[in-house]
């Protein structure tokens, strides 16, 4: 069982974060950030060409992080691989000792940097969760026997700001039935949104890890607000007035974590390239 999986099964608070693989093969910067996170977080998500922007394979990065003693969570999207490639990568991950998999549909290619690409979506996330569980039983989607059986700790995503919220909750229930053990959410800024969401998911048989986003500037906050993530006016004001908006963004993240940490299973920090600040944020939030 992976360290992350053990943590999920315990009653302890879960802390995860994410790092973005670079476009290219130079991992110097990524490894520097990873070093700062070692021993601080329970799991590090490695994104799969997030925002549909082509980057180095998350499976390769997960492997390297694992060798460095970190606990990677391999993000696997349905966007770029058909069922043959998805199963193949799942088996590959398992052989490399990478058990933690976060399954998501993946941002559509048209919003990324290769908008001409053919979108795949052969399986959807629910089907992919089921597929991973099928592999664990020693057979593939075609019913053929595997030589050597993988073991996974499976997660999925949810968006607490989605309206109608019930539609997301029904999806989460379906994903749990398909095999999801944990969720990592889209970022939350608004406590009302958090409370409404938490009320609806408290009975779910899966850990729900709430994402906290490090706002780096007023402009970024406005952009997030525009895409429906509901940023409270107070935060916008604080960022506007701040001499150092990044520092204020950290203050906001700390405040948010303090507000929610006693009412949820864990937090997932999205620092967008500023991962070196994560230890400080966690410390100030008394985690």
């Amino acid at each position: 069982m992976s360290r992350f999986s053990e943590r999920l099964k315990s009653k302890k608070f879960i802390i995860t974060c994410e790092i973005f693989p670079p476009k290219g093969t130079d991992l110097t910067n990524l490894l520097k950030k990873a070093k700062a996170l070692k021993g601080i977080v329970d799991g590090v998500n490695v994104t799969d060409s997030q925002r549909a922007i082509m980057r180095i394979s998350p499976l390769a990065v997960c492997h390297i992080l694992k060798e460095k003693g970190l606990e990677p969570i391999f993000q696997l999207t349905c966007r770029d691989r058909n069922r043959v490639a998805l199963q193949s990568d799942l088996l590959g991950a398992s052989a490399l000792g990478i058990e933690n998999i976060l399954i998501l549909s993946g941002d559509h290619p048209t919003i990324g940097d290769h908008p001409e690409a053919k979108p795949v979506y052969d399986l959807d996330p629910v089907q992919l969760l089921k597929t991973a569980r099928t592999l664990e039983k020693g057979e593939d989607l075609a019913g053929r026997r595997l030589k050597g059986t993988p073991k996974f700790c499976l997660g999925a995503v949810a968006n607490p700001s989605f309206e109608p919220l019930e539609l997301q909750v029904l999806m989460m229930e379906k994903k749990v039935r398909a095999g999801a053990e944990f969720f990592q959410t889209q970022p939350i800024f608004d406590l009302r949104t958090f409370k409404d969401f938490q009320k609806k998911v408290s009975k779910l048989e899966a850990k729900v890890i709430i994402s906290i986003f490090l706002l780096k500037s007023l402009k970024m906050a406005q952009l997030m607000d525009e895409i429906g993530l509901k940023i409270p006016k107070e935060y916008l004001k604080r960022l506007e007035k701040a001499e150092d908006p990044l520092k204020e963004g950290m203050n906001i993240a700390v405040d948010l974590i303090k507000e929610i940490k006693n009412e949820c299973d864990g937090v997932h920090l999205m620092a967008l390239g500023k991962e070196e600040y994560i230890p400080e944020i966690l410390k100030r939030a008394n985690l």
Partner: protein, 218 residues
């Protein structure tokens, strides 16, 4: 029906370079409905190509260029074809290839076929069917997630939609101020029924739509 658009004139002229005697074929079915290859568009094309110095050897609007029997009956025997060094086809790719089976002349596509869709009005079309070979519309209150969800998600929505609109809405459309944002089909389905959110749908059987296409014989 097959929704199509006309290729830009420059592209058509480029393909017609060196081909001075052109016969134009239109379609009385889908391309007429879309106003991309009916009588009026064929006339307009004739006028424009003449202006460019082309000799138009003849024109015809076939009832259904996608039907070999029609092509055989109405097009194959036309003597004016012999005087043509190319045929400009104002029909979809099915029409063009049906004609290609029977007529040994260079065929130039004048249209870009787009999808199987519905017409709200001329110029406003929506893709509703993927011709997937295994219709599931009874499960989804007559709304096809395979086609109308940008990711074709069968088991429910992703988290990307907002205000009931899909995350892949084309930015140019937003900029132009035209309100033709794509609905999140899962929001539409959810308004009618919650059942599909509680049911598990198996992966699709894509061998039913395997390229290069089915040949149904009966």
């Amino acid at each position: 029906m097959i929704i199509s658009e006309q290729k830009p004139r420059e592209e058509i002229l480029e393909m017609l370079k060196g081909k001075e005697k052109v016969f134009i074929v239109g379609c009385a079915a889908c391309a007429t409905k879309c106003q991309t290859g009916g009588e009026d568009e064929v006339k307009e094309m004739k006028r424009e190509l003449k202006k460019e110095g082309k000799k138009i050897t003849g024109t015809i609007v076939l009832d259904t260029p996608c039907d070999e029997r029609i092509v055989k009956k109405d097009l194959s025997s036309l003597s004016s074809l012999k005087n043509s060094n190319s045929l400009l086809i104002m029909a979809c790719g099915v029409g063009l290839q049906t004609i290609g089976k029977l007529i040994d002349r260079p065929l130039i596509p004048a249209l870009n076929p787009l999808f199987a869709g519905t017409t709200e009005r001329i110029g406003r079309y929506y893709e509703y069917c993927s011709l997937c070979g295994d219709c599931l519309l009874d499960e989804f209150e007559g709304l096809c997630p395979l086609t109308r969800c940008a990711k074709g998600l069968l088991n429910g929505p992703c988290g990307g939609a907002r205000d009931g609109k899909c995350e892949v809405n084309p930015a140019p459309a937003r900029r132009s101020g035209v309100n033709d944002e794509i609905d999140c089909v899962w929001a539409l389905i959810y308004e009618k029924t919650k059942e599909p959110l509680k049911t598990y749908y198996e992966p699709r059987d894509y061998k039913k739509i395997l390229m290069p296409g089915r040949r149904v014989v009966r």
